[in-house]
Symmetry: C2
Subunit: 316 residues, 2 copies
């Protein structure tokens, strides 16, 4: 069946955004701004957004959604076809209570998060759920209540966890593209997740441990070298886990980060605001996965140990 016909007969998708922060506010905002049917779950910003709406200042154009479908808990929300989970992984335990009201029999839950084995963890609690994962390649921050700033990039890559729902995910990608968000279907979620880790593991951790920015890390020859060392270690671990990432991927990552605007990765912001760090998903899970495949990431482990010390020092 040709794609154009398939798309024509598909119904309009109903979206839920779980966690309307830097990611959820931008991606959900873009979908809603383009006329999609989007329902947003807010936490602390709920009252503010009901009065003032959602504001997105984006490099590709600012917009303001005065009337959005805002909710304070999922009991009041409709069942949706697609749920974009844009929480921090440190809050994933709460999904057991958050998700059920949103689910019908064919709902696809897309985990827009960093790290590894996030989908497998969710499948433990929801064994019959259709799950996908997404990697957001974006620089965005929430700078105030209901106020998102989108600084650079923006592509979202979505892949199915266990191979199902490829057509639905294709439609989600098309909805994003029609909403001016670059989107890509990933044939291999595991590979995409490891690729993202090649960036996340060095930059997130080092920006926290050294209290700095990606720009400063790239400017000093010693940390430039360390970032590269860490990237190669992650590539080695991926290979042990059956995922081939070409070595020139490292050069591409280094080059694109060097030319990127000075940026504080999400973990650095969590550190600055004394929030829990996503150590489990971004460091511990890859370390365990690599170890169980006979590969020790020595430097990544050291970074994890340092991060755990730092987080526990300020959360004491």
């Amino acid at each position: 069946m040709p794609r154009i016909l398939l798309r024509d007969i598909m119904m309009r998708l109903k979206y839920a955004i779980v966690g309307t922060g830097a990611l959820g506010g931008f991606y959900g905002g873009m979908l809603a701004h383009a006329g999609n049917d989007v329902h947003f779950l807010f936490h602390s910003d709920y009252d503010f957004v009901c009065k003032n709406g959602l504001k997105v200042d984006s490099v590709s154009g600012n917009f303001h959604l005065q009337n959005i479908n805002a909710y304070h808990n999922t009991d009041q929300m409709p069942k949706c076809d697609v749920v974009l989970v844009c929480l921090k992984t440190t809050n994933n335990e709460a999904l057991k209570k958050i998700l059920p009201p949103l689910l019908h029999s064919r709902t696809c839950v897309i985990m827009v998060q960093n790290g590894l084995n996030i989908e497998a963890d969710l499948a433990v609690s929801f064994p019959h759920l259709s799950i996908a994962g997404a990697m957001a390649f974006i620089c965005s921050n929430k700078i105030g209540e209901g106020h998102i700033v989108h600084l650079d990039y923006g592509k979202i890559t979505i892949g199915s966890f266990q191979g199902e729902n490829r057509e639905l995910i294709g439609q989600v990608c098309n909805d994003f593209i029609a909403s001016h968000v670059p989107a890509e279907f990933s044939d291999n979620l595991k590979e995409s997740r490891w690729q993202k880790l090649v960036w996340n593991i060095p930059y997130n951790g080092l920006c926290v441990v050294l209290n700095t920015t990606t720009e400063q890390l790239m400017r000093h020859p010693k940390t430039h070298e360390l970032v590269r060392d860490l990237m190669f270690e992650v590539i080695g671990a991926a290979k042990a886990c059956g995922v081939q990432i070409k070595e020139d991927f490292v050069k591409a990552m280094l080059d694109s980060t060097s030319t990127m605007k000075p940026y504080a990765p999400s973990m650095k912001l969590d550190f600055d605001f004394k929030r829990p760090l996503e150590i489990g998903a971004i460091y511990s899970a890859p370390l365990v996965e690599a170890r169980s495949n006979g590969f020790d990431m020595h430097k990544v482990k050291m970074l994890q140990q340092q991060l755990q010390f730092i987080q526990d020092s300020y959360s004491e």
Copy 2:
């Protein structure tokens, strides 16, 4: 010849202390307090000490040396039999000018410093000099002008660089012991230096990178594990360089540090006061030595890269 006779016929040694800070102030102070002939080189504290003398607050008893042989540069100092170099290694370049006025044909220069290959570096500038190295196992700080506080421990271990002057070094050890400073002659300077690195490499670097104390590092299970990992890496490097350090040495170091009073290692104090860090002697030299013997210290290298970034950030 029995030792007692040898000692009897030896002349009283004339000592120079180059760098009267936390180490030089304590060790030189103890020697002078016991009646030895000691000549102190001061830098910024010179005027103060001429007026007020040198004060040592020690766990084993406080004392005050009102009249000491204080000098502002070595041109005014007598030639000495023993020179204790207690500068930071980051100032060793200055020894080319500092040392010559102190040297007669049999002077022994003892490098009381942390790190590796310090004696070999000095021998490049002074090829005919008799050189020894010393490791100070001490917690002491300079807390004000001419004011040293000695918190814990204090043993000094001295070894000859190229095997000469063993008798003279033996006499220096005896002078220390007679001055109530535990002192030990090392048969193997290289081994002693690597043993000291087992402690210095993890604690100095991690206290700076994580902005903390030895006590906090030992209290958190992740940094406790990281300290141990680093110690084993140093032992592996030592082995590659021909130095056997038993694995239970690690347990002894960890245990003694756990029960030590909360302490900021010298590099942490350098960091707090925005002084240059001794990265070259404590990290770079062992890394080069290990690498040239086919051993890569992955975690130590990462610590070195982080420290270099930190030092260059504040010295910019």
